[in-house]
Symmetry: C3
Subunit: 287 residues, 3 copies
């Protein structure tokens, strides 16, 4: 029986990136839909549920993507509500690569620093990748500072993560001016930059002043770098005593996690891969 | 040469159900188009007609689907008009599963009652599935009562079936109130319920009073049942002396017919599978 | 590693013709997108560029199609600008079959007449196929008359070709009335008719008066013929001492060129197949 991945994309044109990865992960057939919303998704989910016997439903799965992570989350919720009893298929949500990218970044950090009890800061921590990276760091036991230009957004993000990870140690930090940025990065072992493309978040000079810094990861692929002086291709490159990663440097790991997750979908008919489950698959892959 | 099925769907997002079935029927490549209308279909049909030599056109076929059967019929007519001479491909029309579902229901009834000369009633007989079930019953020689809440619609449906099946024995019956319903089901051997989801058409008490009843088939998959007391999974279950089928109970047969029809498309380049031809394939499959 | 062709179509529903040809050319996976514009194409190109390692990018390629050649050209330009360094994939542009059809026509003519120094006229020479046929004839060294009903459009097309083929010998000719048509075809060895469907461009009587005529090619598949007296299926048929081809007669060669081009895309990651490169592939195929 052929494996079928139903790609539900919230953008008008479904991601070619996600389709290529699905082909390379060995999926037999990919059905790609664009412009999918909570309102029009039900018949597509029914088509997955009612076409194969329960024992064969593990060969059909759903992938949710698109450029806006919030839309993907709303779609995931609606898809899961459409299932009932054993009549369900596995589903993965990775809008804009947010979950696989955040997982790859946190796994890269974990190679060099024990995260339990570590001090970490996520710059651009309120975006889809940043928030997920902060959540995963917190879940691993790090004390996480969530950085944003405005204190309101940083606080909201901390609240959202707190609900997902009870017991998480989170601090909203403002990074708008030099003074506040200096205090935000003071004493951290890990910095992850997940800001908007083309926005520099930390200068070389500033970074060198963080004596405690062990790992610096910049997830921005478009110049200028979010963390000045880090190259996109950096992969565990030592710069000024700090292990550095760029976006392409973590890209291989991200891709491996993405493919492993797709394969995991087809091992049962009730797998749900969102932020923490995707990270767990990543831990298996990199172990 | 690979088999190609061009799925022309009248809904904006082409049915994932029909795509999964096509994969499982062994079709090599499925091209899925949504939002297809008589106005924009011609280039898609030309692409089927003009890309392979006449002797190879049997490896390309067209499937017409979507939630509205009338739209599918209009599309089928336009597709057939686009063909000329031997430059044509096989085509199947099964909007909303109407033809395969009606065929499976009538074939289930035929297992237990000789349809030639039988008295039958189709409740909800004016919808896409009901009208097709009535047509197939009439074609097999049954005297068919077509039930509707309004006499006008019942009469119109009978007229339409009469045009498709000259010599058909059809009676429009109104089922709006208890009195008329009692007379509508009086003396029938077969009842098929094809009403809207969630509308009960016949109570258990009422059904038990039909002494002549041999087979009762409910095509409604969403509770409450159209025929009270019949379970969706019933498959030739005897209840009060009547053989009962629910929507899931005929679903396996429906699926088998759907797949057999898809395979039939690729045996020649001029197969046209609409209501009666799909039923004929069903007869072969269940023989 | 599976070969992937990303079909970017400027029409709302991507061409089924181009998809069937891609299947028959042996491409493993085809991603079909409709409604693609220079404004929304970038993420689709990025998905091709960033999903496979540089040495594997030769297994991903882009095909640009649609009914309007100008839209396809604008899309090709945007796609090429999105690539950078070695991070690119091969791309072919053949909107409305314009490049493969023009190539097949000119290759058919070249079988019977040495094009270097030949006198040729393209009737309907300002449309997408006509302009490309004129360009290819000029590139092969023919003196080409570009025919149109209005002198302005003929002159504009000559200017455009001149920019693409420096040194081309081109003459705009008007074909609106009998007098001007007579002078337009006077002394030519090759006539290619590439006008709109159903418009006769040259009568039999007129054609017989061209003593110098060696090859006449009519690319119109819908009756009446553009060149009266030529049948669509003509393939090197001699009529009144002239070798004649109809649209279907050059269709086999066009199809062979189209498939060979698709296969060529997957031999490297930097192949660009537009008018002249497609003609060059055609020369290899028919050699």
């Amino acid at each position: 029986m052929k494996s079928i991945l139903i790609q539900l994309d919230t953008d008008p044109l479904p991601s070619s990136f996600d389709r290529v990865v699905a082909v390379d992960a060995g999926v037999d057939e990919i059905f790609s839909y664009g412009g999918v919303t909570p309102e029009n998704v039900e018949p597509l989910v029914h088509g997955a549920m009612f076409t194969r016997g329960v024992k064969d439903l593990m060969h059909t799965a759903i992938f949710i993507g698109g450029s806006i992570a919030g839309d993907g989350e709303a779609l995931l919720e609606r898809v899961r509500k459409t299932f009932f009893g054993p009549i369900r298929v596995s589903v993965m949500m990775d809008s804009n690569g947010s979950n696989t990218t955040a997982s790859a970044a946190v796994l890269a950090a974990a190679k060099h620093v024990p995260l339990e009890g570590a001090e970490a800061v996520v710059l651009g921590g309120t975006g889809p990748v940043g928030q997920r990276a902060a959540q995963l760091l917190a879940k691993q036991g790090a004390a996480v500072r969530v950085g944003s230009r405005t204190s309101d957004r940083a606080a909201q993000t901390c609240d959202a993560i707190q609900r997902a990870v009870p017991g998480a140690r989170l601090t909203p930090v403002v990074t708008g001016d030099e003074e506040s940025l200096r205090s935000a990065v003071q004493g951290v072992a890990v910095v992850i930059a997940a800001g908007a493309a083309g926005a520099q978040l930390l200068s070389v000079g500033f970074r060198r002043q963080i004596d405690s810094l062990k790992v610096a990861i910049d997830l921005n692929a478009v110049p200028p770098a979010g963390l000045e002086g880090i190259e996109a291709v950096d992969k565990a490159v030592e710069r000024d005593g700090t292990i550095c990663y760029g976006a392409i440097g973590v890209g291989g790991s991200k891709m491996g996690i993405h493919k492993a997750c797709l394969q995991r979908l087809f091992t049962a008919n009730d797998v749900v891969l969102d932020t923490e489950a995707i990270f767990a698959v990543g831990q298996d892959v990199t172990r």
